[in-house]
């Protein structure tokens, strides 16, 4: 430390003697500085231009490429997703339309069957009604004959009971007019 101090002092004194105040204006060491500066600059230039700058340029280009690719890929996926959604919606609409068609078909089939059954039932009912009417007419006709017989019998009986002599023809005519009336 002491010797260094001493040296520094003597140097300072030297410098002060040659260039008062500013070591920058001590031209005796300019050659030395310029020589080492040239070596330094050449070294930095070669390191930068041969290794560092191409490498950084490559890294930056690669990053730009990656970003561009990723964005393109994302856009592709987005388009695909939109397509998938469209396909899904279309499938859904198709299914709905199909279901409606099936429902309509089933309804029509049932309607046909129903119509046939109703027609059949109507025919049966009509047949039965006709049969019944016929039977009722028969019964009515039967009843009419019976009433006539009973009335004429009863009238003959009553006349005979009263002591008269029943005229069958007259009784019959009387009964007929009464029944008609």
């Amino acid at each position: 430390m002491a010797t260094e101090t001493h040296e520094a002092t003597s140097h300072a004194a030297d410098a002060a003697a040659s260039a008062p105040g500013m070591p920058q204006l001590d031209f005796s060491n300019w050659g030395n500085q310029i020589f080492w500066l040239m070596i330094t600059l050449v070294a930095i230039y070669f390191v930068l231009s041969r290794i560092a700058l191409p490498r950084i340029a490559a890294v930056l280009a690669e990053r730009q490429g990656t970003i561009t690719n990723d964005i393109a890929a994302a856009e592709g996926l987005k388009v695909k997703a939109a397509e998938a959604e469209e396909a899904y919606n279309k499938a859904l609409a198709d299914a709905r339309a199909q279901a409606q068609a099936i429902v309509a078909e089933a309804k029509a089939e049932i309607q046909v069957e129903l119509d046939a059954a109703i027609a059949k039932a109507d025919a049966e009912i009509a047949a039965k009604a006709a049969e019944s009417e016929k039977a009722i007419a028969e019964i009515r006709a039967g009843a009419l004959v019976a009433v006539k017989e009973v009335a004429s019998d009863t009238a003959t009986e009553i006349v005979s009971t009263l002591g008269g002599k029943a005229d069958v023809k007259a009784v019959g005519a009387a009964v007929d007019t009464r029944i008609k009336g």
Partner: protein, 252 residues
């Protein structure tokens, strides 16, 4: 240490703010030949090491997602690249490695010079004048090679009235030749002044009463010097780009 040695002579407060700029041989000896290994050599070598560390070792993984050192390297690359492209034009890109060399050397030398006990190589006119003259010669040669005699149009202000043109040409020529001077002295002067001021404040720290103030002042000054270290490198580089633009597109 200096005040210790000189204290005996003057018996008081002594400042030697310029001692930090003295060029000394590293391995003894008094004479400095052009090949002598000096503190200049050491700190220039360290700036080369710093450049290699940041730009080569920092980017060795070539990661798409950069590490911290790689992103600083990329930042420096992008910063200078954009500056060259924006200021000097697209056709100046082939000078980019050269301008990047200047920028990286100056910025690293400036920052290394801010370390305590270090030596600021960019505070020496010998260094900055060489840097500035290199730019001056490059610009002049490129200007004449690219434009031939048309480069002289830089001095002939065709938009001015005819009578004024010779006067303006004289002024333009003087300003053109003053460029390397201002270019170099701006850098060395800023770095030297900042370091000298720091040293002066450090000298005041020897007086107990003002030492707290002195420490605060050194801290503030140091912060400013960190800013100056970057700004001066930036200014040197952008002026280089401006001059280069003159050489490539000399029309006013």
């Amino acid at each position: 240490m200096a005040s210790e040695a000189h204290g005996a002579e003057t018996g008081g407060l002594v400042f030697h703010p310029m001692d930090q700029f003295i060029v000394k041989p590293l391995f003894g000896g008094d004479t400095i030949h052009w090949y002598t290994v000096t503190n200049v050599t050491l700190w220039m070598a360290l700036s080369v090491v710093a450049v290699i560390g940041l730009m080569v070792l920092g980017t060795r993984r070539r990661a798409v997602v950069p590490s911290r050192s790689q992103s600083i390297g990329e930042l420096a690359y992008g910063f200078v690249y954009k500056m060259v492209e924006d200021v000097a034009g697209k056709d100046a890109i082939k000078f980019f490695p050269y301008i990047m060399t200047l920028f990286m050397f100056i910025v690293m030398a400036n920052f290394l010079g801010l370390l305590p006990m270090s030596f600021a190589t960019t505070s020496h006119f010998a260094v900055t004048i060489v840097l500035a003259l290199m730019v001056f010669l490059t610009v002049t040669i490129v200007g004449f090679v690219k434009n031939g005699a048309g480069f002289l149009g830089l001095f002939w202000v065709s938009s001015a009235p005819l009578a004024l043109r010779p006067v303006l040409a004289l002024i333009e020529i003087i300003s053109y030749f003053v460029r390397p001077v201002s270019h170099s002295i701006r850098l060395a002067g800023n770095i030297m002044a900042g370091h000298a001021v720091l040293k002066v404040f450090a000298g005041f720290a020897a007086i107990a009463v003002v030492s707290p103030l002195s420490v605060v002042a050194i801290t503030a000054m140091y912060g400013l010097e960190v800013l100056v270290a970057f700004i001066q490198a930036y200014v040197f580089t952008i002026l280089t780009c401006v001059y280069l633009k003159d050489a490539l597109h000399p029309s006013h």
